[in-house]
């Protein structure tokens, strides 16, 4: 299946992916209205140091420990995509405790959220990829792990 991949060498640490993610998931059509003057809660985040940077989002693991650990049955794997039912999430943070990539974080209400590849919003394709000015984030097929 197609996943989001990053290329460290190309990432400029501009954090645009974080803004594009927050906007795509805001449900609003105006970026200024959606983001200006507000703390943002993106589902992708830029990590790195002074030398290297890269964006981290859900890896959609083949053997997802977050799904196995979720106490509410809110996380599931459908057609390879790890989805979250935010109505079922009770905000226990167990997924944060187990995800080896740090790919889950709460929204402003304490409900967990994660990258769902923009399949559940109006964007239709990952907004982080679409908006990356240096093509450091791509959305493509790289085969399944053996």
């Amino acid at each position: 299946m197609k996943r989001v991949y990053v290329n460290e060498a190309w990432c400029l640490a501009c954090h645009l992916c974080e803004y594009n993610c927050a906007f795509a998931n805001s449900g609003l059509s105006d970026m200024v209205l959606a983001l200006k003057g507000k703390p943002i809660f993106p589902r992708i985040h830029v990590e790195g140091d002074e030398k290297i940077s890269y964006a981290v989002s859900c890896r959609h693991c083949e053997d997802p420990i977050c799904v196995k650990s979720c106490i509410a049955g809110a996380l599931s794997r459908n057609d390879g995509v790890i989805r979250i039912d935010r109505d079922k999430c009770v905000g226990c943070f167990t997924c944060v405790l187990v995800c080896p990539y740090g790919a889950l974080a709460p929204n402003e209400k304490g409900v967990m959220q994660k990258c769902e590849l923009c399949l559940e919003n109006a964007c239709g394709e990952p907004a982080c990829v679409k908006g990356c000015p240096n093509r450091a984030i791509v959305y493509e097929e790289r085969g399944e792990a053996v």
Binding site: R59, E62, A72, V90, T94, P100
Partner: protein
């Protein structure tokens, strides 16, 4: 065709069912569910009282789960005995269910110490099952004064769940601190202060010497009046079905890394078991939800003829009260690295070149990176621990490993 019997209908049982179906589409699966509910997660019952979930959203799997997995569920039925020679489970109505492979996912039962005068208390509850929570919900009103015996995970989550529904809540425990199974003294004090700020009163180092109807007379001499009593002292693994067969049982049913018990064709998973703690190398009961599922899944695959191993169980907990989260994992041994602020406390424990455990209160961002280092026994010499001390980040890992993680399929 194989006939599988799963004794229990909790999360470990679901793991087992899904593990079986991953390897065997045809075998017959019978689930014995003592509770008359579809599978739900026990830890959700406090969130139910709190109003953060409801009966429909508490469903752990979809409405068509059993149908999709082609399971026959016998609700309200309990296995009373296993006949290993004829390979049958005998139920409480005298009927027998034959099996080729059987899995015990029997969980645990609240343990009630012999308190003097406990019989005189009219409104007393346990806090383990959904029925317990529904009964407690009926038993309280906005005027209720609640006394909870036990300041562990169950007792305190119950306190949080009830906080908006009752007049007052007092919690007592023989231990000198709250959450004594997962927090050290200083971390427990921080959490206690936070709970007290939300109106919970504590009697620690203390317990009820006797009950006189609506009054608890404490060991310390304190007198605590109450209307509703919740007993959350502890739990005991339900091991009797295997014990009666002469199977190996300590504090839980002893299982190997394939979840096999010492009795042929019988597996055990979840809170009823004693498994291997990878963080200490010791056998112990690790009654936590993620392990229950993973043990269950492992057993299921093996029961269906596959080969699965689960040897990465570690103690870990994520538990929050009134917005303050505590995350813990592994064991608290070795050298301590600490960071403290007014509102947060981070403790990392290292030994033999490995991260062995942590306690994080109010600073849980990306904590799973630490947890994975404990689980995978990542040598500290291979990472930039100076970075990791400050914050959990994948930047601390070697570039090669990082590129594999973020550039490939994991």
């Amino acid at each position: 065709m194989k006939r599988y019997v799963v004794v229990g209908n909790g999360v470990a049982a679901v793991g087992c069912i899904e593990g079986i179906r991953n390897a065997d589409a045809d075998g017959e699966i019978t689930v014995l569910s003592e509770e008359k509910h579809e599978v739900y997660c026990r830890p959700l019952i406090s969130y139910y009282l709190e109003g953060k979930t409801d009966l429909s959203r508490m469903r752990y799997r979809g409405e068509d789960f059993y149908e999709k997995m082609r399971c026959q569920v016998l609700y309200g039925r309990k296995a009373v005995r296993i006949l290993k020679d004829t390979r049958e489970a005998e139920l409480d109505d005298g009927s027998r269910v034959p099996y080729t492979e059987l899995c015990l996912a029997t969980g645990s039962t609240p343990f009630v110490p012999p308190f003097a005068g406990l019989d005189s208390v009219k409104k007393q509850y346990s806090f383990m099952t959904l029925d317990d929570a529904l009964a407690l919900e009926q038993g309280v009103n906005p005027q209720s004064r609640v006394l909870i015996v036990g300041a562990g995970l169950i007792g305190l989550k119950c306190a949080e769940g009830l906080a908006g529904r009752v007049a007052s809540i007092a919690v007592c425990d023989l231990a000198d601190r709250v959450l004594s199974s997962i927090l050290d003294t200083e971390c427990a004090a921080m959490m206690q202060k936070h709970l007290e700020a939300h109106g919970i009163r504590f009697y620690l180092n203390d317990s009820a010497a006797r009950f006189e109807e609506n009054t608890a007379v404490m060991n310390s001499g304190a007198v605590v009046p109450f209307d509703v009593l919740v007993l959350a002292v502890g739990v005991r693994a339900n091991t009797s079905l295997l014990k009666e067969l002469g199977g190996e049982v300590n504090r839980g049913i002893v299982v190997d890394e394939r979840m096999k018990t010492s009795v042929e064709s019988i597996y055990a998973v979840g809170d009823c078991t004693e498994g291997f703690d990878a963080s200490t190398g010791q056998k112990r009961v690790l009654a936590i939800l993620p392990n229950a599922y993973m043990q269950g899944y492992t057993a299921g695959v093996n029961m269906a003829g596959g080969d699965a191993v689960f040897d990465k169980a570690i103690p870990m907990n994520s538990i929050g009260f009134f917005g303050l989260h505590a995350m813990t994992a592994g064991s608290y041994e070795g050298e301590l690295y600490e960071e403290k602020t007014e509102k947060s406390l981070k403790r990392l424990f290292t030994k033999d070149g490995l991260l062995k455990g942590f306690i994080l209160i109010g600073c849980d961002e990306r904590a799973g990176i630490y947890t994975s280092m404990i689980r995978e026994k990542t040598p500290l010499s291979s990472v930039r621990f100076d970075l990791l001390k400050k914050a959990a980040t994948t930047t601390a890992f070697p570039a090669e490993i990082r590129r594999k993680k973020f550039g490939g399929v994991v």
